[in-house]
């Protein structure tokens, strides 16, 4: 590329004296070592400073606070509801329905199976009774002891288990009293 060719094969002309006088052939090669050094220094610098993982955003939709017309609000059946309480120290408590709650304790690993199982159960119930197929309606109630990560994890579970209806609701004092100490 950088070498001049004067016709024909380079190999065949090497070392042969040609008819005319030539100036001493200067090497066309330059020492690229410093250039490579600099290049890789820059590469290393950019590799180390760059943040390849772009942040992701989880979409959250909260209910409108001042709704005047309650007639359009959808009613839910107690049998479709499930309440999840997010406690301190990464504890999760849940109960089905609205009245006479039987509170159960679990953790963030096991809750996924519980959610899937209950969602399927509710979908079966809705199919059997001819109700709208909404699936389970989950009320997420973080307590004051819970961390932000707990809430994000639970919202993520909703996406993973494909539960469409859920809401972040304030915990009641009755429910707080039910959490085992």
């Amino acid at each position: 590329m950088a070498e001049l060719q004067e016709g024909g094969d380079v190999q065949s002309h090497r070392g042969k004296k040609r008819g005319h006088v030539r100036a001493k052939k200067m090497s066309t090669r330059i020492d690229m070592t410093p250039m490579v050094d600099l290049g890789f220094l820059l590469v290393t610098f950019f590799i180390l400073t760059t943040t390849m993982t772009k942040p992701k955003a989880m979409q959250v939709v909260m209910p409108d606070k001042d709704v005047k017309d309650t007639s359009e609000m959808s009613k839910i059946r107690a049998s479709e509801a499930m309440t999840i309480l997010l406690g301190g120290n990464d504890k999760v408590y849940y109960y089905y329905g609205i009245e006479n709650p039987q509170i159960q304790s679990t953790d963030y690993k096991k809750i996924r199976d519980t959610l899937i199982a209950h969602n399927n159960y509710v979908l079966g119930l809705e199919a059997a009774n001819g109700w709208d197929k909404k699936g389970v309606i989950v009320l997420i109630k973080p307590t004051n002891d819970s961390k932000y990560e707990n809430l994000v994890d639970m919202l993520d579970e909703m996406k993973i288990t494909n539960i469409k209806s859920y809401a972040i609701v304030d915990v009641t004092t009755d429910e707080l009293a039910m959490i085992p100490k």
């Binding site: 690229m32 760059t50 992701k56 989880m58 004051n144 919202l155």
Partner: protein, 207 residues
């Protein structure tokens, strides 16, 4: 006796392809890199399986530190100028041209309005050293809930930006709840929670 010399191999290796590749990588990294602005607090965001990325521009980021301090950020310099002017009008504080510039080129802010002017008068080095107390957030709709006022003004100044919350894994829920409540009070019912990426479970794992 003359030694039989093997033909002298050139000590030069052709580095051209290597240089080509190195500079190709350099160019790639230069073009893709974006330097992280000086943030007053480092947060460790929780991870989720969500894959949608927030927009590059036109966003408000509310940072919640593990110690419950709240920081506010609007990302465009021109918008930030306008925002500070509007904030000044709301609280009856007039900001000088230097203060406006200092604010416009800055990043997240966690200073109550009462001490914001003094903070902006500091030199950039001193500003970095200040331990920011966080923006006052409470559960009211009053002027004391400064986050709410910031939000109102940023929505006007920022031409309806996307609202994002960047919380630390270990932020306490009451702090998050106050921010959520402030957003709802200002009719921001749709917002994003910034998370880092995590591999989604396969369908097999879900069975």
């Amino acid at each position: 006796m003359a030694k039989v010399k093997p033909p002298k191999a050139s000590v030069f290796i052709d580095m051209t392809p290597m240089v080509d590749m190195a500079f190709l990588l350099v160019t790639f990294f230069i073009l893709t890199t974006q330097f992280r602005p000086d943030e007053p607090v480092q947060v460790n965001t929780p991870s989720s399986t969500w894959t949608s990325t927030p927009p590059e521009h036109g966003k408000v980021t509310i940072t919640i530190a593990p110690d419950s301090r709240v920081f506010f950020d609007l990302d465009n310099q021109n918008f930030r100028r306008d925002l500070l002017q509007r904030m000044g009008d709301t609280y009856g504080i007039s900001f000088s041209e230097d203060e406006l510039n200092a604010f416009a080129t800055g990043s997240s802010i966690g200073i109550p309005m009462s001490s914001l002017k003094g903070y902006l008068d500091l030199s950039p080095e001193d500003r970095r050293k200040v331990q920011q107390p966080g923006i006052p957030v409470d559960s009211t709709k009053n002027m004391s809930n400064e986050l709410g006022i910031w939000l109102i003004n940023a929505r006007i100044a920022g031409n309806n930006p996307v609202i994002l919350i960047k919380g630390d894994k270990l932020s306490n829920y009451p702090a998050v709840k106050n921010v959520f409540k402030t957003l709802q009070d200002n009719k921001v019912n749709k917002f994003g929670l910034i998370t880092s990426e995590e591999a989604a479970p396969t369908t097999k794992q879900l069975q």
